[in-house]
């Protein structure tokens, strides 16, 4: 008997004290809440485009242009100069495709219903000294290959982000004129070329071409491509290499010893200009302005670490403990830390906490195909009733930030701050009065008209029996909203909106339900009255969502214009927005679009949230921590973060 226990004791002792590896000083250790699902570029840009995959794939691929954080400006990266729409020339279609357009892409060569006969093209010169990690040069051939193979394999078939990055209805062909000049042939002028095709991540042709050729010989080439996970030796032109993936546990990424841009500097000036300096090659260029005055931000490009180790912590509580203990230096979390964890971490020494606005919106909307939701006055009156500040500040204690515009203020480049906000600054009684006024003027009547008392700021007589201008009663309608477990902030808003609506005699009730169910009913079946959801808005460099959310061509089941907003004036404006290659012009149009949104209210935007993150300040120094979406939105800034000794 005793022998058994003695044995166990000895074993435990050994196990406990002999097995922990020592921390490596130069290693950056980060956590994330879910394992990646792929280590393959085509898959994580494609059908497996989950945020966790992007965390472990940052800092690998070069691009012709790039959008820099924190200003989201488009600047050249591999390109040697800024892009100018005036540089476009035309050429006839038959010259580029003497045997005709490839069959599978024929449908894309139409503009405004007519077949195109001419293509426009522009040449972009590239730097001639950038190299992959295996020593091979990064050339125009890599750029051409990346785009062309996407088109060949089928952008839509590849799925995910690919059709956005190489839009088949915009890109006709990309070819390398010589090793360092890329020529893009476009079907039409489209902002997507500028904001998505140009900054597209470029892969190494000498690595992928032979592999893809092999896959093309199989029955299911795409399946074979997506299944390929042996990517440890994929060449990288960024600060890091592809990581070794120990499934369920970690991804171990080494630094790229061959990183060309080691030692580059970026400077941001008050006048909005951006300066890029690379001393080893005597490069000092200025974009978007004249570089006057002091730089309010300067960053050095590293990487300054020896590697990054991504560990998987599936539970937030344990991730927080690991952070406290120093097992990790930072944790990637797309929704940020909850209040409880914030409090817990604020008591741990050496933990810095930062707070940034998320790039997203939470909103409610009506099914604009039904009455009375298709009546603008109804929507405007409804919006007047909603006191966002009250819910955000008084009820939710600042957990939500009131937002009335479809564009979050954090995206400084595109945000229009001068849009109408219904009921702005009004108290309860004022709001009700105003709403009643709007509705009455539009011809609505009540059996019992709501009355307010300004002194007590309350509704003293609840409205009942609201009737439309034609005399028919407004029927009780349902708003679908997410439940407590999914998002308590939206649930709270839903409850208050229900109360305020009913106070005025607008007969609505909230139905708290599962996210999947809302998606099913709203997007796929389009069987709903009102709904409340939210969006993560994607790429801040160019807000394409003005198109997909509100253009009338997306009103079919499955499309994102589920509310059925169809405004020809808006459609035309959005189309103009999409086809502009002029940044200033695009910005002006975007401002106009936001004004229309604020007036027409296809969405009544409610709030945005902050994303709170924490990191070990005794280990890390970031060049800046104020950025839309937080550190996790910009890949954790792995290439520019410095380690303290």
């Amino acid at each position: 008997m005793c022998k058994k226990y003695l044995l166990c004791g000895i074993l435990s002792f050994c196990v406990v004290f002999l097995t922990v590896g020592a921390a490596s000083a130069g290693l950056l250790e980060v956590g994330q809440h879910s394992d990646i699902t792929t280590n393959n570029y085509w898959a994580h840009m494609g059908p497996k485009s989950e945020v966790w995959n992007t965390y472990a794939s940052s800092g690998i691929y070069p691009a012709v242009f790039t959008t820099v954080a924190p200003t989201w400006q488009l600047v050249p990266s591999l390109a040697t100069k800024m892009f100018d729409p005036a540089d476009f020339s035309t050429v006839s279609l038959s010259e580029i495709f003497p045997e005709g357009v490839p069959e599978e892409r024929e449908e894309y060569f139409f503009v405004g219903g007519e077949a195109v006969e001419e293509l426009i093209y522009v040449d972009i010169p590239l730097y001639d000294f950038v190299e992959w990690s295996d020593g091979m040069p990064v050339t125009a051939h890599d750029v051409a290959f990346t785009h062309m193979i996407t088109l060949e394999l089928g952008a839509v078939a590849l799925g995910g982000n690919h059709p956005n990055l190489t839009p088949p209805d915009v890109i006709a062909k990309v070819e390398a004129l010589d090793d360092y000049t890329v020529r893009y042939y476009l079907i039409k002028e489209d902002a997507r070329f500028m904001f998505q095709a140009l900054p597209r991540s470029i892969v190494a042709r000498h690595y992928w071409e032979p592999l893809i050729e092999e896959f093309l010989m199989k029955d299911e080439p795409l399946e074979a491509l997506f299944a390929y996970e042996d990517t440890l030796d994929e060449p990288s032109a960024g600060g890091f290499l592809r990581g070794r993936w120990e499934r369920g546990a970690f991804i171990d990424r080494e630094v790229n010893p061959h990183y060309t841009w080691q030692g580059a500097q970026e400077h941001f000036y008050e006048d909005g200009s951006y300066r890029f300096v690379f001393p080893p090659k005597d490069i000092d260029v200025l974009y978007h302005g004249d570089g006057e005055g002091e730089a309010w931000l300067s960053t050095d490009s590293g990487p300054f670490v020896e590697g990054v180790l991504h560990s998987i912590y599936t539970d937030q509580s344990t991730a927080v403990m690991a952070l406290s203990r120093g097992d990790v230096d930072f944790v990637f979390n797309p929704v940020g830390l909850e209040v409880g964890f914030q409090e817990q971490l604020s008591e741990v020494p050496n933990i810095a906490m930062i707070s940034n606005l998320a790039y997203g919106i939470r909103f409610m909307g009506f099914n604009l195909r039904k009455e009375p939701f298709n009546d603008l006055a109804f929507r405007q009156a409804f919006a007047t009733l909603i006191d966002r500040e009250f819910v955000c500040e008084r009820v939710l204690q600042g957990a939500a930030i009131p937002l009335a515009s479809v564009m979050p203020p954090g995206n400084v480049a595109w945000f229009n701050e001068n849009v109408t906000v219904y009921g702005e600054g009004m108290g309860r009684s004022e709001r009700v009065e105003e709403a009643v006024r709007i509705l009455s003027e539009a011809g609505y009547t009540w059996e019992v008209t709501p009355e307010v008392d300004h002194d007590t700021d309350e509704v003293v007589v609840r409205g009942r029996g609201l009737m439309m201008p034609d005399g028919s009663p407004v029927e009780e309608f349902e708003m679908l909203a997410p439940g407590q477990a999914y998002d308590p902030l939206r649930t709270t808003f839903a409850m208050f909106i229900e109360r305020w609506a009913n106070e005025v005699g607008i007969p609505m009730y909230t139905r708290l339900t599962d996210f999947s169910l809302i998606v099913e009913r709203v997007f796929n079946q389009q069987d709903f009255d009102a709904w409340m959801l939210g969006w993560s808005l994607g790429n801040p460099a160019f807000p394409t969502y003005f198109n997909v959310f509100f253009h009338s061509r997306y009103t079919d089941p499955g499309g994102f214009n589920a509310q059925g907003y169809a405004n020809p004036e808006y459609d035309a404006l959005v189309e103009e927005f999409l086809s502009t290659l002029d940044l200033e012009e695009a910005r002006k149009i975007c401002f106009e679009l936001q004004e229309i949104m604020a007036e027409e209210l296809p969405y009544i935007v409610l709030f945005d949230t902050e994303i709170v993150e924490a990191y070990r300040e005794d280990r890390l120094v970031y060049p800046f921590t104020e950025v839309l979406g937080g550190l996790q939105f910009v890949g954790g800034m792995l290439g520019t973060v410095k380690l303290l000794e």
Binding site: C14, V15, V16, L18, T19, V20, G21, A22, A23, S24, L27, E29, D35, T37, T38, P47, K48, S49, V156, G159, N161, P163, N164, F226, A227, R244, E246, R247, G248, A249, F250, D252, L309, S311, I312, Y313, T314, D315, S317, T318, M321, A322, S324, R325, D327, S516, L517, V519, E520, F523, W535, S536, L537, G538, T544, Y545, V548, F549, G558, F560
Partner: protein, 383 residues
Amino acid sequence: MGRYVVRRIIQVVGMTFAFVTITFLILQAMPGDITNLYISPEIPPEVRQALRERFGVDQPVLSQYARYITNFLRGNLGYSFRHYPRTVWDIIRERLPRTFVLFFTATVGYFYLGFTLGKIIAWKRGTALEYTTTVGGVFLYSLFLPMYALLVIWFFALRLGWFPVSQFITPRLWRGVEVSSNTIFGYIILSAALFVALMSLVSVYGKKYSRTRKARRNLYWGIGGITLGILVTGWGISGYAHLAANIFHHLALPVITLTTGAFAGSMLLMRDSMLETIKEDYVMAARAKGLPDREVRDRHAARTALLPMVTSFTLAIASVLNGGIITENIFSWPGMGQTLVKSIQTNDWPLALGTFAFTGIFVLFAHLAVDILYAVLDPRIRY
């Protein structure tokens, strides 16, 4: 007996089909599909539609079912949607060893602890030991598991720093290692299985080759010690010993949590069962025969009290493969439980169904095993 087993196997097969079909229908009835995971303004609707077509989720339910069942019969569980093009079987194979090692160890742990304590406190009623283990055990049993797990982690990992906070391996240690963690898990399972198999053989055949009882006891310890020595040396030579030790280090906290949290159930079951068997005449007879107290307790009272425990234990072992979603989540052991829940949440129905079917079949066979085991353990039962 043979006929009985055959009959039951046929039942199991039938139940498997019913079970798979019903689960399939339930999963299909859930709103939404895999594309809900990729709702983003960056991803155009054509792409989502193309994805639906690739996975066949826009096909009528009946044709999806027909395709699934024909594949199922050939042992093909299909592709996971979220992890496409990985097959369901491949994913299960990756997650299984972790789940198995953790929950098998924990289950054996809490049953053994419960069995031993239940045996002891039933034998000696009214002692301080009985009081503390019963109150303490029930208290821990009724603690909300996530809270208890976090407390354990907070105390032993954060406060004392003896154990890692979570995960099943320490990434720092495994960074440069060539071999994958699943391989090591496999070797651990193999070593344990070898050891158990060998000791079982010894216990069965040892009787023939030892002349006195004492000799037999020495035989056990001897062979046990030698085998252990060989295994340890083998691990040492392979150079993987520190990796296996690391896994054990990570195993400690979840096993401690589960064992201490769950032992009260089996302890009280054992105790109640013992209290019944203690009253039996053969227990009194054993004492009268002059058997030492421990032998009376273990060979007579506990042995027959074991029968209900065996059922409970076998069924618990079967659900080892289900994993525990809470434990796996908090301790970051991505295993079968997490796989199941994640796959349901993301409408990845082939993975959900495959995981269910896999563990379901196990449970069905476990029930069969229990019936057979009962007949073996209690000679009075014969089918």
